[in-house]
């Protein structure tokens, strides 16, 4: 068994796809007997919003994202449209909605937990959620925009949480 019982994560990204890694690693960390804190800053604050349904994955400038159809005949599902579609097309309206819809559908098909399910699991497991006060003010959020159980603090508090932690991840 490992000695360190603490883990911290700095969550900085607010798109639908990047919302998953912090919650996956945090909930698994608790399952592995760690005490976990996530510090949400800049766009990472999106992950704490009451309404996460507006989070989108953008194919624009996201060249590494595989784009496969979650439905249809087998031969079609094998094709990766990612490298085949010119990036300029992603500037058209509603392409983000389409990409998000397809990603959600693929996740469901693969038995991946939903974002809200993972976040609730983290809360149930007592993962500490800290929202960066400075960016909350900077982006004009109100504290009511966020789910219950969130603490509001700054970078110094993050460092306090890091004390005695061997796993400090930036996502």
């Amino acid at each position: 068994m490992s000695e360190s019982k603490k883990m911290t994560i700095i969550a900085t990204k607010g798109t639908f796809d990047w919302a998953f890694p912090p919650f996956i690693i945090a909930s698994t960390g608790v399952a592995m007997d760690k005490e976990v804190t996530i510090f949400f800053t800049f766009y990472g604050l999106n992950l704490l919003l009451k309404d996460t349904s507006k989070l989108r994955v953008s194919p624009m400038g996201n060249p590494a994202m595989p784009m496969k159809m979650p439905m249809g005949p087998k031969w079609l599902q094998k094709i990766d449209f990612g490298p085949k579609i010119p990036n300029i097309l992603w500037s058209l309206p509603f392409t983000e909605h389409l990409a998000t819809y397809l990603m959600k559908k693929t996740m469901k098909k693969n038995g991946v937990a939903t974002l809200n399910e993972l976040r609730s699991m983290c809360q149930e497991f007592d993962v500490k959620f800290i929202a960066c006060e400075m960016t909350v003010d900077l982006f004009g959020y109100s504290k009511d925009d966020f789910i219950d159980g969130v603490e509001f603090a700054g970078a110094a508090t993050y460092f306090d949480e890091c004390d005695g932690s061997n796993h400090n991840l930036y996502m």
């Binding site: 007997d33 038995g111 497991f125």
Partner: protein, 74 residues
């Protein structure tokens, strides 16, 4: 024989681990939990989970695309 059985079929990482953790937390020390999973990644993950949490992985079996892990709660 297992005292409890958790069917995590169809679920993908990290759900089998999270559900295993929850199931074990409701059990007494020394009790046996069987976890059924279809996620191939859980073979390594359940082992790592037991290694870190001190629970004992008694056995791992595969049967027609399903993995059955027998865990003794620490």
């Amino acid at each position: 024989m297992a005292d409890e059985t958790l069917d995590a079929s169809g679920l993908n990482c990290p759900l089998p681990i999270l559900k295993t953790k929850k199931a074990l937390s409701k059990m007494d020390s020394g009790k046996i939990l069987d976890v059924i999973s279809t996620d191939a990644g859980s073979v390594k993950d359940i082992e790592a989970f037991c290694n870190q949490t001190g629970n004992k992985l008694v056995s791992t079996a595969e049967e027609g695309g399903k993995y059955i892990f027998t865990i003794e709660k620490a």
